[in-house]
Amino acid sequence: MPDLHQTLSLANELNLLAAGLFLLGSFGLIATRQVLDCVAVFAWQSLMLAASAALVAHETHLGHLYVVAGITIATKTLLIPWLLTRTSSERVVARREISQTLNVPTSLLIGLGLAACAYFLAAPLEATAPGARIGVNLPIGLATLLMGAFTVTVRREALPQVLGILSMENGAFFAGLAIASGLPLFAELAAAFDVLIIALVMGLLTRKLHERTGSTAVADLTELREE
């Protein structure tokens, strides 16, 4: 981002801040052990997504992005955390992940590596079709997408895995703010609905798992296996 210093308006500067905090959320999801705290981290990350949407709306005068920001806050910051804690029982939410596939420092280091990868992957794409904010939103969004996938694979508890998937979608949408801001509002609404269904279905499934097996450590589910 060499030309950033010349073009840095207040909105762009704030967008940069939101992007930084957004990425921090991905690291938070990897490192946080308490399930309830993970939910809170996700809610904050979604708030940063909404902030970035509002800032892009302010810069580009694309009015529908304000609506997108509003929908994001309503669904991802408020409704989904409530749904997830509500559908899965209290005991699930109060859980702490004791044993981990990888310890926290190693996981964070790998997360850092993925973020660096995302930056180098995004660079040639930016070169093909440059545009405003793409230099910030594309690499950060891609990094969150990759780190979300990593979160799903290293977390052993059900809810953190769900949050990993939801943060992957957050990453895709964060990049989308810069590269696909022209998507019709109806598509954004439908996508928000889709994310809501993910939270609902996975929350209910977590609850059933807990009722049936007495545990939500999904990594321990290994009954189905090719002998």
């Binding site: 093909t128 079709a129 997408l145 979608e169 949408f173 590269i179 696909a180 798992l209 589910l221 189905l224």
Partner: protein
């Protein structure tokens, strides 16, 4: 209008099925009626598209050409037979007092079917993504129908892995939107993208294609993203397995192959190579894994992966093999539900799906044994069935396009899969019975479903009507080569 009606029919059946009633048969009858009507409408759409018409609806939101119509017809037909099979299945798998559970099953089946049928008729690429993501979420609780720990484990793996795939595919879709804007396009539809295909920045289209290949490929259970599929199929009810199998070998290849025309000139060979790599990996991996299965539904699960691989590899070879890919897509989607219903019937007769414990099926119930044998022959491409001709046309088409190495590998994998499936099934049907016991009478809905779902595979294996040929030729032409 007619396109909209095809989607609305299952949704209407869902609402009617949920209506509380003391008669347990109502949800099933309603669902069969609605899905039967949608098959008739889909056939009408296919007949029009076969003459080169492109149908639209809902002021352009719905859009269907020959490729879409082909997928629509086979999915609608699979939905109809699955609903029919489910009537007998739910009657036996649930307690007479559990009418709510039966209602829920049919509501979920209807809504899931609507989400499957909407994919091939949606014009906007972003909406296609949402519909594909919904097909996962709406089928999770169909997979966990048995409500025991293994079923929930399978449902969890299914939901987590395919949702991860969906997020990756979403990124691919957004990249495609970016490339459309950069290329000067305005409508984010398949047709709108094709119109500006020559001006799209190639790097973006390529990266977008790769994200979609991995994302949608996870949902299509391509090797190495296939881990969830055998678990899901072994736990899901047979009718749900049949529908999922059709979804993974028609709708997902449809979405991926729609990307091919966006590669201008020689770059399409690049995309074709990726399709061949994943296609051959899937066909070969599944053929190897078929040898060691111990569960009947897993057998058909790996055969699904193999066929998804064959279809993608054939489409990747290009030329005349593209026609073979469409042929295979249709023939497999007609044959595989029959295989699953035959497996479900056999499991009903023996009370187990373990291959070892199933031996002697032919002695205990000759009809169930014959059905399973026919199912095994039909899904592996033995002569009297449609899949034989489609596999031949792929191999001939590939050879004509001078793709000799992929053709040789595909032939090897097809023979391996054929031998493995037949080895297991012959042992079940003709083996010595291990257990004795009273044999239940053959349920009428099972017999009816088997007869109805076998008919098209058998008929199309003997003669291919000109209309069907024309539809497949037009569908192959949409691949852009």
């Amino acid at each position: 209008m007619i396109l909209l009606l095809i989607i609305l029919l299952p949704l209407a059946a869902a609402i009617l099925s949920f209506w509380p009633s003391h008669r347990r048969s109502i949800p099933g009858v309603v669902t069969v009626g609605a899905t039967g009507a949608s098959v008739v409408l889909a056939l009408d759409v296919a007949a029009r598209c076969a003459s080169g018409v492109i149908m639209t609806g809902l002021s352009g939101a719905l859009w269907c050409d020959a490729f879409g119509a082909l997928v629509l017809v086979v999915c609608a037909f699979a939905g109809f037979t699955a609903a029919l099979f489910s009537i007998g299945f739910t009657r036996r798998a649930t307690h007479p007092m559990e009418s709510l559970r039966v209602r829920r099953y049919f509501v979920r089946l209807d809504v899931f079917l609507a989400s499957v049928l909407v994919v091939p008729v949606l014009a906007n690429v972003a909406f296609v993504w949402i519909a594909v993501a919904l097909t996962t979420l709406l089928s999770v609780f169909l997979v966990s129908f048995n409500r025991n720990a293994p079923a929930l484990e399978a449902a969890w793996k299914y939901a987590v892995l395919t949702s991860m795939g969906a997020a990756l595919a979403l990124f691919g879709v957004l990249l495609l939107h970016w490339s459309m804007r950069a290329g000067g396009g305005h409508t984010f539809t398949w047709a709108g993208l094709n119109a500006v295909a020559k001006t799209l920045p190639l790097t973006l289209v390529k990266v977008s294609f790769l994200f979609m290949l991995v994302g949608y490929g996870t949902k299509a259970a391509l090797v190495p993203f296939h881990a969830w599929l055998p678990d899901v199929y072994s736990q899901a009810p047979a009718a749900v397995g049949a529908l999922l199998s059709v979804l993974e070998t028609t709708v997902l290849p449809y979405v991926l192959l729609r990307m091919l025309p966006l590669f201008p000139g020689a770059s399409v060979r690049w995309a074709g190579s990726w399709l061949m790599v994943f296609g051959l990996l899937s066909a070969g991996g599944a053929a190897l894994l078929l040898i060691q299965v111990k569960d009947l539904k897993r057998l058909f699960a790996y055969s699904t992966i193999e066929n998804a691989g064959i279809i993608l590899a054939a489409a990747g070879m290009g030329g005349a093999a593209g026609y073979g890919a469409m042929y295979q897509l249709m023939a497999h989607a007609l044959a595989k539900p029959f295989g699953f219903f035959a497996a479900g019937t056999a499991i009903f007769f023996l009370g187990t799906g373990q291959l070892k414990a199933m031996q002697g099926l032919g002695r205990r119930s000759p009809w169930a044994g014959a059905a399973l044998l026919a199912g095994g022959l039909a899904v592996t491409g033995a002569p009297p069935f449609a899949l034989f001709l489609s596999e031949l046309s792929i191999l001939a088409g590939g050879a004509a396009a001078h793709r000799l190495v992929p053709v040789a590998l595909l032939t090897l994998f097809m023979v391996m899969a054929f031998s493995a499936v037949l080895y297991h099934i012959v042992r079940i049907v003709f083996g010595e019975p291990t257990g004795e016991g009273p044999v239940p009478s053959f349920p009428k809905t099972f017999a009816l479903t088997l007869a109805i779902s076998l008919a098209p595979v058998l008929v199309l294996g003997m003669s291919l009507p000109a209309g069907v040929q024309q539809l497949m030729r037009l569908a192959a032409a949409t691949l852009g080569r």
